[in-house]
Symmetry: C3
Subunit: 347 residues, 3 copies
């Protein structure tokens, strides 16, 4: 495809050599002649001069380059759309595979694709164009919206409700029992029936082997457009707002609430029963024991403002030296005080 | 159901309005007229005055409220039992589904429910009332006690032994190979056959996508009544005592031993080859590199007594200021010392 | 088996009592008469005097013991080989189970074992002696080398390539979609098609419920001989070098590169877009935000040299005391300075 044609489809500005032929999209270090590449992370600008790519997608404010380039105000989005010009995702066959186990009273929308060994329980309702890959398991009473994709070995437990265009990656468990046990006097625990459910709103994606627990009462909710990465834990009764991004291995204990647009790096932990305001951001491995106001940028364990954490983390490295200095000061002051008392008399 | 009837069944004291009608159990913020709610966590006491619930379960020592209330010495347990009055868990159909693959020599106890695509390997022995949800996989030689429930996509590997009333949530892996490799001189690793097994005692619950590894020799053991949350890792040859509670994403490396009643918040990490005494408690994200005595309350990375950690964490925030102070002290003392030497002479 | 015969097969030196009869291999604390045990971790040397084992495998430099012993320069490897003399792993039946769903155009090598409900997608190519346990799911277009073992509920997504002797433990997901989303101006996210794949080289083992994401473009690569533990996350486009060992719950964000022989303890987190040199080692829970040179031993959050971390972690415990000392110094110096000015005049 000509670069000019790509520019037209992506609504990008093209700089020089409009007629270069592009056959593939590739990362900047792997790209070969014929490839279109991109830089959206400044860390990779240094690779531009060495890339073998035939053209590059760049932000409007990136420096000039000798390579033919497409300029975009959102180069990462332009890259995403360029990919779609060159790759077709595998589309599973429509229809219900004869080796699927679909309850006789389940309502299946038009154009469904239900693979071998998929299970659809009693009373389920599936919207149009739903894709259940082989081995997807839908417990009884589940509602799936339109264009939902459930990958192999994912499980949607009883009575959960998923909106439209939700994507569940492999092995994710939606609606497993929340971790609720009442302690008894003899030290043992009494299981609290998890009588609630999980609601996943439109356009959410849940990563591989993530676990979203059902509530004891009421619902655990994942808000519209939120993206939950692999191996993330969402505790029972928690609410994740719209357009949140929770990176891999992050954990949210029970009954916590994240506002809209909250972002967490990998392995962040949120305690239970807390509130996080809209747009708060957490760097990787942050441990959050308390409420966090909207817009905050937090780091550390326990979490503090990122700027404080950066300053304190740097200061900790000076601590052994500081201890030595204080010891010397104590000697000096002890000596000095004695000196202050005695030296004048000596003179 | 009348509140008085609920009180009778839960053996709670009822305060005022015994004849209010209850139709549901709900969380304090979501509750509507007709709902019974509860407060066991002090954080939620502030919501009592605004709840729309018709009645509330409270601890004996909680403040007086205008709402009709049930008073219990264990309000969380009373809530758990109240739930059971209003909700029936889905009970899968009894019998072996024709699309299950059950080995001809497997011994299946009475009243079993084995769903479609469940697999029971050769030589397995399943107790009475076992429930295998669709896609549960039981490798050969496994023993399951009575009333065991294995959810879809959970796996019990070869020769593992589960006691009575054990619940395995979706996607949990019991008895995967322990992570054992002997380093060779060329830098490569030689896989150590994991010839041991896993024993899970009575009344244990294992969370979604948790992994309990089999031992190289001997057994990995999860003690009676312990509750293991989602995405927890138990390394090979470890022993978890009775009535332990390990919250989500906690990891226990190999050959470690937890005593009875040990509790760990989320994302706690225990190193291998260590011992933790009975009743020790670890706050979320604690990193435990060494033995811990019984009854300790630990926090931090590396773990120290919680009180020390709280004091030190607060102190770290003062560290940048402390460094500045020490710098000023050094100047003052250097100036002072000079001053100490010279000023008396000047006067 | 006589100890002398074991010594011969393991090529170990035998010390005293060559004709003792061994029937089992066991851990040092559980061992009974008739058992062969071993010590490779110095922590267990103290148990040697109390073990009931009939013989023990020890390193050449370990102290003399009264027990009959096998001496080896690599006692852990000798233990691994001794296990193989006494235990046979369960070998699943050869052949394709009638309840497996194998695409008509998939190429299956000789001696394959494909269990019930296993799925092999269109266009797959499986080498000789491949074992797919029940419920293994192989999406279309996958290539598996010889002697690959895929355990129940593991998934290999479309177009991934696995080398020879790769072992995939239960529930692992190879090739799930990378976590790539382009932010849009309205705060929502646009899913970036993950058009790349995953390459897993020879002799790799992937742990239970681990997730290795496919790349957006190009490949995520796990290098030859690397061992990845349970619940580990490998982000899209990352490259793990040869013979790396990543312990449980470790996470590697996207586009990072680990050199050869990198070792990480449990729950380590690596940020994206970073490089780690050959042989670098990370203790458990380390958080790595930046590049790390070859051979480094790193700890802490954020990661620093282990020796620095040890020194600083110890220093933090002195911090509350240090703050008190500085306060006293300030008083002393303030008093001293005043004193320096006034006392001489008083005298």
């Amino acid at each position: 495809m000509k670069l000019s044609e790509i520019a037209r489809r992506l609504q990008c500005r093209v700089v020089s050599h409009e007629d270069v032929d592009i056959v593939r999209v590739a990362g900047i270090e792997e790209a070969c002649p014929g490839d279109l590449t991109f830089v959206s992370n400044r860390k990779y600008v240094k690779h531009i001069k060495d890339t073998r790519a035939s053209a590059i997608i760049l932000g409007e404010k990136m420096p000039e380059v000798s390579l033919p380039s497409l300029r975009s105000s959102n180069p990462y989005l332009a890259f995403a759309r360029a990919l779609e010009l060159f790759y077709q995702p595998q589309v599973p066959e429509q229809g219900i595979h004869p080796a699927a186990a679909v309850a006789s009273d389940a309502a299946i929308g038009p154009n469904a694709s239900i693979g071998p060994f998929a299970v659809v329980g009693a009373g389920c309702r599936l919207g149009a164009n739903v894709v259940l890959h082989p081995h997807a398991v839908i417990y009884p009473g589940v509602v799936l919206g339109e264009n939902v994709v459930v990958h192999s070995h994912a499980v949607i437990r009883e009575s959960c409700v998923l909106g439209n265009r939700v994507i569940i990656q492999n092995g994710a468990v939606i609606g497993g029992d929340g971790f609720g046990f009442a302690p008894r006097e003899d030290g043992s625990y009494y299981k609290i029936m998890q009588a609630g459910s999980v609601i996943i709103e439109d356009d959410v994606e849940i990563g591989a082997n993530a676990a979203i627990d059902r509530a004891a009462v009421g619902n655990t909710v994942i808000g519209r457009g939120s993206k939950i990465d692999n191996l993330v834990q969402i505790g029972h009764g928690s609410r994740v707002g719209e357009n949140c991004v929770l990176a891999a291995q992050t954990g949210l204990a029970g009954s916590s609430r994240l506002g809209r647009g909250v972002r967490a790096g990998g392995q962040v932990g949120f305690a239970g029963h807390l509130e996080v305001g809209d747009g708060a951001t957490f760097t990787a491995q942050t441990g959050v024991p308390h409420d966090v106001p909207a817009g905050a940028l937090m780091s550390g364990y326990p979490a503090v403002e990122n700027s404080t954490w950066l300053r304190c983390s740097a200061a900790i490295l000076k601590l052994p030296d500081l201890i030595r200095k204080v010891r010397e000061l104590e000697k000096a002051v002890a000596g000095g005080r004695t000196g202050g008392d005695t030296r004048p008399e000596k003179t």
